[in-house]
Amino acid sequence: MSDTLKNRGDQLTAPASAPQQAVRFRVRRLFTGSYVPILLALVVVIIIGSFASPYFLTALNLQNILLSGAIVSILAIGQFMVIVTAGIDLSVGAIAAFATVSSAWILAQGGSLVVAIGGALVICAGVGVLNGLAVVFGRITPFIATLGMMSIIQGISFFVQGGSLIAITNQEFIGLFNGQVLGISSPAILLIVVTIVMALVMRYTIFGRQQYAIGGNSQAALLSGLPVRRNVILAYVISGFLAGLAGLLLAAQLSGGSALVGSGYELDSIAAAVVGGAALFGGKGNPVSAVIGALLIGTISNIMNLRSVQAEGQLVVQGILVLLAVYLTSGGSKDFVRGFNSLFRRRNYAPISN
């Protein structure tokens, strides 16, 4: 009896057209890859923008979009690194503000450029360590742990800042983070470098693979011997570090450090990551899509600025955009997504079963 069953199984091996179907399968996967829909959306928005305003496609305007988008984009990458482990980091805005304050304070105390930059980044990564410890060993849900940390860090920033703002007079610092290198603005260069590095980390390293596995199924990851605790802590460290980096850009733009500048960035970064296809359940998305998500939101608000849409209206549009993105990626739109995917599917394609 077992023989007949086995034979039946063998007959089910793919028929002669298998290579063709396998190729078709791969092609389909190429077009339904997680970055494709968001990239298409960006292209559509850019086309709309070019009709909406003659200034939209000018080099100056595009550079503006990139400049103002760089900070949110870097925060979004850090946020993605946490979200992919099924966590969330509400403290990124506060950490960015803390970086502005601490770097400005170090410079004001006569610290060198290197100490100011290094000190701010180390402190911010350290806050990430605390976030990670609270989540992993304190077993506090990420939402609450980072909410508490947000408040603590904001308080400390106000305390360090003392007055209303610590001015930065060091032109080297400002030139480095808000100037130009080889004719390209330095925030844009930083963003590109960070994006490429994190994209490579997530795609080609052992660590990246582990993060997707931990977010996709932490139980299976643990039972496969992955260092789940260490890696979850590292996710918050990376998020803290990148928030610090975004904070340095912010400090250079402001020419000063202020505890007030970070608020709102945590939600913007979450919105960007989610619009970029990251699922809050973890295990999905990629850093490039998070950046495109941030740039998409930035481009739309740029278009609205060019058309003189009021700030109130812009908020409404941004909210709708986030809801729409989540609806399409993980909400009750499974049928819609299936319909979209079926555009790339031939009629005779059937999923393989045993």
Binding site: S2, L5, K6, R8, G9, L12, T13, A14, A18, Q21, A22, F25, R26, R29, Y204, T205, I206, F207, G208, R209, Q210, Y212, A213, G216, N217, Q219, A220, A221, L222, L223, S224, G225, L226, P227, G283, K284, P351, I352, S353, N354
Partner: protein, 524 residues
């Protein structure tokens, strides 16, 4: 009465005939189908006032579906329900409750932060003319209700402060407050320590004497025989038989639960040589691969000692919930143990604080639930296969993609995993193929000993065969296996069989020294 009383429903142990001619609750031809599965198949059942009616069955026999239908959580695909002779249809749990059928689920449905009194009266707090709640009446009545059940629980305590047994009593008090006539207890003793079980049983006895019908879902035979008047045995979605406890001996009940299919299957082979999952004979003096001594944990496992030799297949079997799965987790480092030593290859002691350590020592684990514990469903076949052996494709932190693909392709070929390519997402595979991917993960990781937990639960017959084939091949290539299973026929394929009851290993036999009848006799 359109339907006559089923002749198999046995004698009438408590003489309802004199009291009433209708059962409280009657199911006629109830079936329930889910896509691809027929969970219930033409079940007739009668629940009479004042009886305690046990429903026995293995996992997957249809007990929980039956409970869902009686408590209004699911509607039957076919068949009818009658309450006191009148046809009823339950669209929601509230409908069943209004009829007088209350279910105490394993997961209690109390509001943890509210007090005992508030929970009992949650849906109809007594109010005075101004609409203000009469708290004195609430407290007084709730206290009386709880005391009436033989418990003395302060009614101002939030229920989260109570023990599980006390919480169950609060649930029962709530049900009685709503004039429950039929009480469904779904595995109520699963998480209870013994003294609390005794107290709960006193409550059930009291309810029964007051004419409430109690339906008791359990796989613990001793409790069923202590408590109940009648037993219905479920298997494969059918009601196999209903008998009074005096008519159905415990070993016959187990036999009925475990099923004729297994008995036939083995009966046929016992005439010749019984199937052996291990293709080779392991020498008596073969080296030991894992040696467990005196292992205990804080909850269930007590003083477990066993060894597995290189190339050997050892099974640990017992009814569901005897502790096999917990033993596997304790060995693999995913469950804390309080005592005991584990050594691998006689030299290496396992502190077993983490699965990573166990994997490093050459162990692998195929968990009971592959979807929630074995696989990352959103990842590719390739990524799942390499998950436990990422170290071997690590070059300064960078994943060696080429080597990873080669390993994955080799595994797909060797194990006959049916996919288009290694990049296919694992969640889109069939159950049998997913199980093969879990296997491939451990072969890729070079595991010497696989702890295999309930490998064939929830897979169909053909997939079962291919899983057994996989185990056989793994053994042929020099692997060793610790098989944890509640399927006796599966355990009987091993070289050595340990019997587990209530967290202890009670007996152990060589392959030839036991058979199904023998094991069935032990497991009651």
């Amino acid at each position: 009465m359109t339907m006559g009383t089923d002749s198999r429903s046995g004698s009438d142990p408590i003489g309802q005939e004199g009291r009433r001619d209708e059962p409280l609750l009657r199911l006629v031809g109830v079936s329930k189908s889910y896509p691809g599965v027929r969970a219930l198949d033409g079940v007739d059942l009668e629940i009479w006032a004042g009886e305690c009616h046990a429903i026995l069955g293995q996992n997957g026999a249809g007990k929980s579906t039956l409970v869902k239908i009686m408590s209004g959580i699911e509607a039957p695909s076919e068949g009818e329900l009658y309450f006191e002779g009148a046809r009823v249809r339950f669209a929601r749990p509230v409908d069943a409750q209004q009829a007088g059928i209350y279910t105490i689920h394993q997961e209690l449905s109390l509001s943890p932060a509210l007090t005992v009194a508030e929970n009992v009266y949650i849906s109809d707090l007594p109010r005075n003319k101004l609409g203000v709640i009469n708290w004195n009446a609430v407290r007084r009545n709730a206290a009386a209700a709880v005391r009436n059940l033989g418990f003395d629980i302060p009614v101002d305590t939030p229920v989260q402060m109570l023990s599980v047994a006390e919480q169950q009593v609060v649930e029962i008090a709530k049900a009685l407050h709503h004039r429950a006539r039929v009480l469904l207890l779904d595995e109520p003793t699963a998480t209870l320590p013994q003294p609390d079980v005794d107290r709960l049983f006193e409550v059930v006895d009291k309810l029964r004497s007051e004419g409430v019908a109690v339906v008791f879902i359990s796989h613990r035979l001793d409790e069923v025989y202590r408590l109940c008047d009648r037993i219905s045995v479920m298997r494969d979605g059918r009601r196999i038989q209903t008998r009074s406890v005096s008519e159905l001996a415990p070993d016959a009940a187990v036999r009925s639960m475990v099923g004729a299919s297994q008995v036939d299957f083995l009966g046929q082979i016992t005439s010749g040589a019984r199937r052996r999952i291990n293709p080779q004979v392991v020498a008596r003096d073969a080296p030991v691969i894992v040696d467990v001594r005196g292992l205990s944990d804080s909850h269930l496992l007590r003083d477990i000692s066993l060894t597995v030799k290189v190339g050997e297949a050892v099974a640990v079997t017992g009814l569901v919930g005897s502790g096999q799965s917990e033993l596997g987790a304790a060995l693999f480092g995913s469950r804390a143990r309080t005592a005991g030593e584990i050594s691998v290859h006689t030299t290496r002691r396992l502190r077993a604080r983490s699965p990573g350590e166990a994997i490093g020592a050459g162990l692998g684990m195929i968990p009971e639930d592959r979807k929630s514990q074995g696989l990352v469903l959103d990842m590719t076949v390739k990524a799942n296969i390499s998950l436990a052996s990422l170290g071997s494709i690590n070059r300064f932190g960078v994943r060696r993609g080429g080597k990873e693909s080669d390993i994955a392709d080799e595994m797909i070929r060797d194990l006959g995993i049916k996919v288009w390519d290694a990049e296919q997402v694992v969640g889109t595979l069939s159950g049998g193929n997913q199980q093969k991917v879990v296997f491939a993960k451990w072969i890729a990781a070079g595991a010497d000993l696989l702890i295999i937990n309930e490998p064939t639960r929830g897979v169909d017959v053909s997939a079962k065969e291919s899983i057994y084939d996989g185990i056989t091949r793994y053994l042929a290539e020099g692997g060793s296996v610790l098989l944890l299973t509640s399927e006796l026929s599966e355990a009987l394929m091993a070289d050595r069989i340990h019997v587990m009851q209530n967290g202890r290993l009670t007996e152990s036999f060589e392959h030839e020294a036991t058979n199904l009848d023998h094991l069935l006799g032990l497991l009651r």
